[in-house]
């Protein structure tokens, strides 16, 4: 249980960054005030959006499911409080594009009335599959920021054997302190969540990795483990170095093992979960509560009272800033996430989502430094924790040579921003890599679409060909029939008209002629 005996390793590169964490850890986590309106985006996770279960005008209770996960990689969303649904429409969401997406808008009624919950007293009586189903129902996603559905992640499949569960409490990015506060205040729930996940993936060991700049969190979690007398869970204090919190980097530090380039940690018997995700798992199983709130760090030099808040999903960011004393007069830029990997928001009229761990207000406006040409100093390659060659990737990305960028393993880039940070020419390298990634995805989508169009076009050509042939065949058959008939008529001769209709017509004609002849003789007589 001691954290000193552990042998640790280093990943390549990385940066020592000023932490700025103490500014938001001074006071305990406060509950954010209940806003008048919550805007809950339907898609807050990686994967397919869920299927909506509610309608405008409906009254919903706290914890009621708003959309359910129909696809495998998907997550449900729930009403964060009780109220009435006033709209289901496109609203701006926190996304680098500033675009809108489908949201459920709830007018809160202030009663905060829970739906009936189904807590489990003895989860070990259930099978791991049943527990995974409960996690799926609770809409839990990775709360470290990646928002990958947890029910999928804790199902490594029959072939992968998970040996070690790693709980990621590194929180390596400056300013952010929500995981730190969660570990300090909810160590009991964290340990309970760890045991549940351990049971679900049958991992023998569990390591809780915490950066050594959070001694309070380390002490709190260690005390909890000691109090419960657990032998399979241990706390590992790891050196503070950005980006130790990256999944692959953390595994390297703890085990000296490397996750293959196109592989997953489960390929080497490891599962990594964020601290807040483990707590959410505990609450979903033991209390039956779905994921409807999270801790958000509101911090930065541009906000009056930086602190951590327990926030309902869908709360407008502006209200959180107001609760933290509002903006400083020099506040210039609002960032979701940290200073290294976060992105700027154009407005604070946006809802908090499951992946929103931090709101950072900076005093300086986004700097647009005069970028200088690359001098091939290779500082970026030395800093890169994924052992890539950022300068080569930059070269090819800026000339849109996307095949070559991929040859330099673009998709192993974790967009940590170390390369941009150290670049003496101040080239926004990560932006180039993000540009290249989305372009490549777009080309892939286009390719699939054109393949699909080709199949449809070919099918249409075939169909037209077939229809033409069928028409010709029909025509030919009709002609044959006619010819046959003519022949038959010719054979029977005109002795007896075959057609009774024809005979009737001929008879009628004869009668008319006779009548005419009779009339003529009559008139002749008169004269």
């Amino acid at each position: 249980m001691s954290n000193t005996s552990h042998h640790l390793w280093h990943f390549h590169g990385g940066l020592k960054l000023p932490g700025h964490k103490a500014m938001s850890t001074g006071s305990p986590v406060a509950r954010a005030t209940l806003p008048a309106q919550l805007v809950v985006p339907v898609q807050q996770h990686i994967g397919e959006p869920g299927k909506l279960l509610v309608e405008v005008g409906e009254r919903v209770l706290k914890g009621q499911m708003l959309s359910q996960a129909d696809e495998y990689v998907s997550a449900a969303i729930h009403a964060p409080t009780s109220g009435t649904i006033s709209a289901i429409e496109e609203r701006p969401i926190p996304h680098p594009s500033g675009l809108s997406a489908l949201c459920v808008v709830i007018e809160t009624d202030g009663e905060d009335q829970w739906i009936e919950l189904a807590p489990l007293q003895h989860p070990r009586a259930k099978s791991p599959t049943e527990l995974r189903q409960l996690i799926r129902q609770a809409g839990i996603v990775g709360l470290g920021g990646a928002t990958f559905p947890t029910a999928v992640k804790v199902n490594p499949g029959p072939r992968a054997k998970i040996d070690t569960l790693v709980i990621n409490g590194a929180e390596c990015e400056p300013y952010i302190s929500c995981d730190d506060m969660q570990m300090r205040e909810q160590a009991d729930q964290l340990i309970s969540g760890c045991q549940l996940i351990q049971y679900m993936v049958s991992a023998r060991h569990c390591q809780i990795a915490i950066e050594d700049n959070k001694p309070e969190a380390i002490a709190a979690v260690e005390a909890q483990i000691k109090a419960e007398g657990l032998s399979t869970i241990e706390v590992v204090a790891i050196p503070t170095l950005y980006p130790t919190g990256g999944e692959k980097q953390l595994i390297k530090v703890l085990t000296n093992r490397e996750v293959p380039s196109d592989g997953l940690p489960s390929d080497i018997g490891i599962l990594v979960q964020n601290v807040a995700t483990a707590v959410a798992v505990h609450r979903a199983i033991y209390l039956g509560e779905p994921l409807i709130s999270r801790i958000v760090t509101v911090t930065g030099e541009g906000v009056a009272q930086p602190q951590n808040l327990q926030v309902l999903i869908g709360t407008p960011m502006a209200e959180l800033i107001a609760q933290c004393g509002g903006y400083h007069k020099d506040a210039a830029r609002l960032i979701m996430g940290g200073p290294m990997m976060g992105f700027s928001l154009r407005t604070d009229e946006l809802p908090v989502t499951k992946g929103c761990n931090c709101l950072l207000v900076e005093n300086s406006a986004e700097q647009l430094p005069t970028t200088m040409p690359c001098i091939r100093c290779s500082a970026c390659a030395e800093a890169c924790p994924a052992q890539l060659l950022p300068q080569q990737m930059y070269w090819h990305a800026s000339s849109k040579n996307f095949d070559l960028v991929q040859d330099y393993h673009l998709f192993d880039c974790i967009e940590c921003g170390c390369c941009s940070y150290v670049c003496p020419s101040q080239i926004p390298l990560v932006q180039y890599f993000r540009f290249a990634k989305t372009e490549i995805w777009n080309q892939e989508r286009d390719r699939q679409k054109s393949d699909h169009a080709r199949i449809r076009h070919d099918f249409r050509q075939q169909r037209l060909e077939r229809e033409k042939k069928e028409r010709e065949e029909k025509l030919r058959k009709k002609k044959e029939m006619l010819e046959k008939k003519k022949q038959q008529e010719a054979e029977q001769g005109d002795s007896a008209p075959a057609d009774p209709k024809k005979a009737a017509i001929e008879a009628a004609m004869k009668r008319v002629q006779q009548k005419k002849a009779a009339q003529q003789t009559d008139s002749n007589d008169e004269q």
Partner: protein
């Protein structure tokens, strides 16, 4: 005598190779032209005819035969031209004015109040993306529409309009960072 031996030997060898080649041409016969398939795979399959050929495959055949340039495909734009240049080992060429790059992707939609149900657009659509029957209202299946605009000229009441494809958060692309005086010099 040695002259005869030499002539006979060479003749026998020639006959053997002839047989071998004949056998190979039958055994390893390739149906169709694989280059055309490869070119066709790179084209966007809008079947729009803006390259002056009646569809993507005819254009691919024309490129393979050396009759057409690689810069005549507006929906494919620069990316397709570069891919073709790479495949064929040719120098990239700028898109000519006539076939200038299309700025954004579009699809069409039918103004259903005006549609008279004449089925002319259905017959024009190369990918069967229009649904309807005679004297019934028609509608576009947006996911299948390639934006070729071939349905617009036949429409007798001008009820088909072009609209840009909506960008969603998951199809949004990061812009290339602004380059001020910093074009990388190789």
């Amino acid at each position: 005598m040695s002259l005869v031996i030499a002539v006979v030997t060479v003749a026998v060898i020639a006959a053997l190779f002839g047989l071998l080649l004949g056998f190979a041409s039958v055994k390893f016969h390739v149906e169709g032209d694989p280059v055309v398939d490869k070119i066709d795979a790179l084209l966007p399959q809008t079947q729009c005819g803006q390259c002056t050929y009646p569809g993507c495959r005819p254009y691919a055949e024309a490129i393979a035969a050396g009759e057409a340039n690689i810069n005549q495909c507006p929906p494919g734009g620069e990316a397709t031209m570069l891919a073709l240049a790479e495949l064929l080992g040719m120098e990239p060429m700028p898109l000519d004015d006539e076939h200038a790059d299309m700025p954004e992707k579009t699809v069409v939609f039918i103004d259903e109040n005006t549609c008279i149900g004449c089925t002319l657009c259905i017959q024009a659509c190369p990918v069967d993306a229009i649904l309807g029957a005679a004297k019934q209202m028609h509608t576009i299946i947006e996911d299948e529409c390639t934006g070729c605009d071939l349905c617009i000229p036949p429409c007798p009441v001008d009820c088909i309009h072009i609209k840009p494809v909506k960008v969603e958060p998951d199809t949004w692309r990061w812009p290339l960072p602004e380059q001020r005086d910093t074009a990388p010099r190789a």
